[in-house]
Amino acid sequence: MKSYNNTILWEDERVDGADKVNGKAKYAAEHSLPNMAYAVFVTSTIAKGSIKNLDTSKALAMPGVLDVIYYANCPSVPGYISNAAERPKNAIEWRGHKVLHDNKVRFFGQPIALVVADSFESANAAIRFVKAEYAPESFETNFDKARLDAKNLKINSNYKRGTEKKYKEAFAFVESEFNIPIEVHNAMELFATIAHWEGDDKVTLYDKTQGPKSTQFTVSRTFGIPDKNVRVIAENVGGAFGSGLRSWANVPAACIAAKKLNRPVKLVLTRPQMFSLVGYRPQSWQKVGIGADAAGNFTGISHEAITNTSRYEDFREGIVDASKFLYACENVDTKYNLLPLDLSTPVWMRGPGEASGCFALESAIDELSYKLKMDPIELRLKNYTTVNPENKLPFSDINLKDCYAYGINKIGWKNRPTVPGSLKENGMLIGYGMAVGIFGAGKGSASVRIVLSNDGKLLLECGVSDMGPGTTTAMTILASEAMQMPIQKIKFKLGDSDLPPGPSQGGSGTTSTVGSAVDLACKTLQQKLKEIAIKSAPVFAGMNAEALEVKNEMVISKTNANAKMPIVDVLKLANQDKIDLTITSNGKNAAQLKFTSNSFSAHFVKLGVNPKNGTIKILQVVTTGDAGKIISPKTARSQMLGGVVGGIGMALSEKLEIDHKTGQIINASFGGYHVPLHSHIPPTDVWFVNKPDPNINDIGAKGIGEIALIGFAAAITNAVYNATGKRVRDLPITPEKLGFKT
């Protein structure tokens, strides 16, 4: 083992790795401000109704308690005003539940008051002394029951090309229903906000968010103050998986308390509150019908879905989208409805929409393969398409065939039994399964500041965040490649809304979007360097910029290798202490818009099922990604490994349980909601096509955060069918669903 003194040893290591292993990396709740007060939410113990009376007197009498904020004493908030005519001009109405605003209860566990005290201990002790008297109303939290009555559904969107329900006329078809329960992101870092008003209309927040800029916008519009007066700092984010893509109750509540008390306030959610206050993957019911001719060509695909939303907000996702374009098929129809329930609002969770949709689609294709007596990979290849059949645009690049080839070989697909339940190893029934994932690959606009100092150091800044995938590392590597200078001399700064605007980190778009801006910034800087060199350095006199290149920290003539000068000397000669530029990279250009861009994945699983009790042991996983050029191989591999772990949880253990008599979540802890642990993880092999996509952006890279998970759960259920002959269409798989009593 080499020794390490906070200097980079391995060229591919995470650039912020040292700070994350020595405890120096600071997350939202870890900042401390003078005179800071602590706040804790009091939450409702009914699912729906109103509060008749809230007795705060006992809590207020507790030592250390400074205030109990609730609907009766909450200061007015411009964004809480529903009537647009009464709202200040620059305010926008807060989307969703207006915390501490009124006496209505919309879901069990809704914050109804905020206790603020001079210590965490005093605040936490006092929440039990706030007494609410309710007028309860009838409510519905039972998705399975409520979805059966069409009156409860809100029509969202329908789609059709060719003939509807064409699959029913096919040589062979399957028609199956799939159910996925509510799953919760449960990132390890608890949501937290520290709010500090530095003036009447100026606030600084330390917040757990995937988008410092989006939180800045939300806060400025909610409080009716200028954007520039809101600073949001999120240098490190302890995972989020989509839950940090919008601001939740903790943000306005901390701001309200800090303003009311005129001192900084820290508000940290509890783990149980992480189950009900910061979104979740909605529960879904899906029905997929697929038909094929005798040769295996798909003749019709129908995909229906219902997902839940809250009663006070609509949340929709692309659950049926992949069925429209992942495979070649002339007749496709989809239908997607929402079911409002008396629960909090769902939000995007890793692989949003497609993770649920591909579970159904990829399971149904596997079912069909057995009907056709065809290998499921052969069936997918039969319907392979390089043109998106929905919008008729060619994929900017697609190499799924290479993923199949790698997976087939690596997992030992040839050992897969064609008759389910016919292979045994070490007393276990063995099955092989695979499934595909797809997700849109975007490119948006972003701005980057680039500063080259005369000490040879390069600084880049963008107001994006890094919730764990390694954005800081990938952007540093990109800059290092573009500038051809060592990564040790480059610093990429993010996580602060004061930096040039960048996107929220979500939808697998950060590397493409911010990466393109970094690339453009580096190219612009190089151009500037060349111009300065020509102007200031006699050695380049009379040359034009095209004849020069910047590499190895030098400006060099392409034609005369002796004409070169270190970039620091160029700056000194020009009497400049730095070059400081801010550039903006835009979304896709006209040429790029002639293509449709996606990332793809194919997952392969070998597992064993214990024939005595139905327990499942995943023996081997091969996961492959087709996402253009891989910028940061080490962190990209980790992201794929994480997708496998998430997929294992989705398939085998994760399910939010609600008591429909009370509307209460009954497994709101890691003790009740089971996420995968060390022991559940099999040896996993990660492979990338790693070929630049020529048509998405200049860097050839696409996102992998979503495709790492999308499809994985189907690979497991398909393998379970292969092992046992039991098709599980309702997640998670349990021994009961395999016919075992527990």
Partner: protein, 201 residues
Amino acid sequence: MKPCFQQDGRRSFLKKSTSLVALYLTPSVFVKAFAVDSIVPLPIAKEKLTITINGKLLKLEIDARTTLLNLLREELAFTGTKKGCEMGQCGACTVHINGKRAKSCMQLALTHQNNKITTIEGLGDGEKLHPMQVAFIKHDAFQCGYCTSGQIMSAVTCVREGNAKSRASIQAYMDTNICRCGAYQNIVDAIAEVAKTGAKI
């Protein structure tokens, strides 16, 4: 330890203090039915605590209700130790107490008079990282980094206590520490490599 509440005389001191500890340590969602109406608040009890943290002897006066985790994070600015659940279920708050791993969220700080605590900040030698920290970087054994301190503190005792003999034994020992980003395979790789060197850590 003095209780910070006083009841109306019908229950013994012992009952009071035990139930108050339980009340404090149990998440609020589970204690809604607890009869608290008869309890009247008293001023917060400040207690003396002598404790060694990362080799430094500290004499403190603290709120009796403070957990070791909150003492570290809120009072002493050792924020490397993470709060993930406050129920002893996730392992993010793992520290070493007299060389053994423990979940700091489940300990009242006052129960650690004269104990020696090591946190992630005290694991290495000054600015020089501990071999396990280096191995975590080498194997990219984390993504967001939030569970990492706890994973590393457990990883060190895993090797020290002889539980790193096989991947399966490492996994079983490490099941106390959740990683939601899913860095498990890389964490086991890091631990296995450190164990293989045979170095005393």
